[in-house]
Amino acid sequence: MQRRDFFKKMALAGAAIPVLSLPIQPKPTADASPLLVTGVGEDYPQLLKKVLAPLGGIGAFVKKGYKVVIKPNIGWDRNVEQGACTHPLVVRALAEMALAAGAAKVMVFDRTCNEERRCYQNSGIEPELKKVNDSRLVVEHIDERKFVPIEIKKGKKLSKWGFYKDVLEADCYINVPVAKHHRLSGLTLGLKNIMGIIGGNRSTIHFNLGANLADLNTVLPAHLTIIDATRILLRNGPQGGRVSDVTVLHRLIASTDIVAADAYATTLFDMKPDALESTRLAYEMGLGQMDLDKVKMVTV
């Protein structure tokens, strides 16, 4: 081959790179009266088991050979007491349950706000997961190559955004946010946790945050949302810093309905279930139920 031909062919090959299009798994459709389980307990692994039991246990979500994504909030370089990230014991217990249910792979990651290594380390999540010692459990930093542009067909504000490939391909995506204060959105809960699996410049979608969050969640409704309210950050969110802004509740909330979970968690902050714009808009778009009277509530 002539050198010139080689370069020509290289250029052609480069131009012909197809835009990746991924099959998106069908996700459970919203139920008009979804089940929501909540419970209080100081032994978090035990509490998690109890909370999941009415929903069918982890086995209802994780089948043998599944690829599972667990998405906690690891956004900030803060420790467990400061309540800015999901509790490491909750994440670990969930990972262990998924592994025990026969998952082929369990991935844990978040697109952090502070420096990623510090967040993974100081949140306590990476050190806690290292103790699990199972090669199927993968704790990775975000790989920038894995953001796939996805058309947001139901979107009202956003028409296209990058989503993380591993989540798109997962058989089971479990959303594990921590409940905390956030000045702009009011609170950050399940719907906002999607920020950690999207690409692009996330600052630029803060103008119509509620609407944008609802749009993004139409692409990837989580199979299961577990809101960590073991301790909640009441002020100075989303990263806090002062332990005095944190209240310990020892509570977990679980539902297949992300809107219901958010609506209920909102009440923990002495706010009405529909206080958050994202909750209202997601409800209007049919992503779930925010009327807690219509939610089947189980307390364990």
């Binding site: 790179i17 502070n114 420096e115 000045r183 702009l184 103008f207 100075n236």
Partner: protein, 525 residues
């Protein structure tokens, strides 16, 4: 000694030197890679070792601040080593010297005299020491480790990463899955060992590359061209090695052969009597290994025949006078009257003047900065401040609980603050540009800056204000403002501001002004 034995001895000596050179180069590179966050707040290794035992850095910094710097005490080790063994540091240890040897091999460097250039290194040394005494720090421009670490940090590391990752990324994104399944595990191993954690980006890449590779390309002009003619550390060690007691015997090249003199990489045999000049010799042992007729050796002996010093008094005087006048120029430079308002220094730095005296432009802080926030200056701090670190928040912010730059700074120019002290250290002050800030200028809520402000009591707050938005509707938006007493100038607000180009909030230089002190023009009659 029979010829066979002598030959073996020579081979052994040469390999000992090569192994030593490669070992120190390896240590240097490993320390370079370890200059990073490793999962704990403390870096447990003395990653800045090569600067701390560098006598040139020690001399220049001590003269500049006129006090003893404990951090630089290890320099005495190299001083002692040189007084005993001569410039063994240059021949057996210096990583830049090793790279130059390799480059010389690669380019098949010829021995080349340029004897007139040889004293330049002494003149450079004189300029560096005189100016540092007068408060200008030029050592970083010429110190071999500064050149090396800066070159690695700003140029080699990012380019290596770009090329390697680029290759793997291409395979990952374009090649069939079976191929990327093969390459990805290799990539993972490389990511965890050889490659930096993230792609970095730096100012001054071109000029830094030219300096770094320029030195290696000097191989085209002759062997060890930089070391013989320009290296000011070499010059300092040369002065010390005039007293060294590990000397070659015989002291001169044989009249009938002169093989050693002809091939000496340092051109260290003076032309008249063929005497080996101790201050020029880097004790590489080539002249022993290659000795053609008699058993040459290095052994302990008091120096008997001192060779003439390769310096012209008149030149030295001229250069020194020039060096004295340099500080006069910088003192009347515009920077002194009105410093760049966006020149932010790393956390833990004293006044700009003190900082510039202490900083040896080694680039360690830029290497370790986990947000790629510290960037080399070109002219922002005046020409005399070239390559000093500055925080550029739009590139990266200062991570709130990170104090790594202070841990790796070899001279204390960036003080080693505890994490708690660091969290309180004021780098600058965030100021809203209300003509650009989205809530202020466009009447829409945003407050990404408030969200990211890391302080326990946020320095950015917002108040609810009713405005008429661009659609003509009356809406309540959150209007952010800065509480000046709280702001530490970490720059995360400027970093995350969603505006394109300049942010709507910018960190301005902390002026270190004491109210009510000092005089000068202030505009009041």
């Amino acid at each position: 000694m029979n010829a066979e034995k002598k030959k073996r001895y020579g081979v052994k000596l040469r390999w000992m030197r090569r192994i030593s050179q490669l070992a120190f180069l390896a240590v240097f590179l490993v320390l370079f890679r370890l200059t990073d966050y490793s999962g704990s707040d403390e870096i447990p290794y003395a990653v800045n070792l090569f600067f701390r035992w560098d006598p040139l850095v020690a001399a220049a910094v001590t003269l500049a601040v006129k006090s003893f710097i404990a951090l630089l005490a290890p320099a005495l080790i190299i001083v002692l080593l040189t007084v005993v063994f001569g410039r063994v540091f240059c021949g057996w240890i210096c990583p830049l010297g090793t790279l130059i040897d390799a480059s010389d091999k690669l380019f098949k460097a010829k021995k080349n005299h340029f004897p007139k250039l040889r004293p330049v290194k002494y003149y450079l040394l004189a300029v560096i020491l005189i100016t540092s005494l007068l408060g200008i720090q030029l050592v970083g421009l010429f110190d071999p480790f500064s050149i090396l670490v800066r070159g690695l940090t700003v140029v080699v590391d990012p380019v290596l990463n770009l090329v390697t990752r680029g290759g793997f990324d291409w395979v990952y994104l374009n090649a069939p899955a079976w191929l990327s399944n093969l390459t990805e595990p290799v990539y993972t191993v490389l990511k965890e060992s050889l490659l930096p954690f993230k792609q970095t980006f730096f100012a001054t890449t071109l000029i830094t590359a030219m300096l770094f590779f320029g030195i290696l390309l000097m191989a085209k002009l002759g062997k060890r061209f930089w070391c013989r003619n320009f290296c000011p550390l070499g010059a300092l060690l040369a002065l010390l090695s005039r007293f060294s007691i590990w000397r070659r015997f015989p002291a001169a090249a044989c009249k009938n052969c002169s093989h050693c003199a002809a091939f000496c990489r340092m051109d260290a045999f003076e032309p008249e009597k063929g005497l080996l000049m101790a201050e020029e010799c880097n004790t590489c042992q080539d002249c022993v290994a290659d000795c053609q007729n008699q058993p040459a050796r290095f052994r302990f002996s008091l120096p008997k025949q001192r060779t003439a010093f390769d310096l012209k008094r008149r030149h030295l005087l001229g250069v020194s006078l020039a060096a004295v006048s340099l500080p006069l120029l910088t003192r009347v430079g515009l920077n002194k009257k009105s410093p760049n308002p966006f020149l932010l220094r790393p956390p833990g730095t004293a006044s700009e003047e003190e900082f510039q005296k202490l900083c040896v432009r080694c680039g360690e802080c830029m290497k370790v900065c986990i947000k790629n926030a510290l960037q080399p200056t070109l002219t922002e701090a005046g020409l005399e401040g070239m390559f000093t670190p500055r925080l550029v928040p739009r590139i990266g912010y200062c991570e709130y609980a990170c104090n790594l730059c202070g841990q790796v700074c070899p001279t204390g120019a960036i003080a080693k603050l505890s994490v708690e002290e660091k969290k309180k250290f004021v780098i600058g002050l965030a100021v809203f540009d209300k003509n650009r800030c989205i809530p202020h200028a466009q009447n829409r809520s945003c407050i990404v800056c408030e969200e990211h402000c890391p302080l326990d009591e946020k320095a950015i707050l917002a108040r609810d204000v009713e405005v008429i938005n661009q659609q003509g509707d009356k809406v309540v938006i959150q209007l952010p403002y800065v509480i000046e007493d709280r702001c530490i100038g970490c720059g995360i607000c400027e970093n995350v501001c969603p505006l394109p180009g300049d942010a709507g909030i910018r960190v301005m230089r902390h002026q270190n002004l004491e109210p009510g002190i000092g005089g000068g023009e202030d505009g009041y009659g």
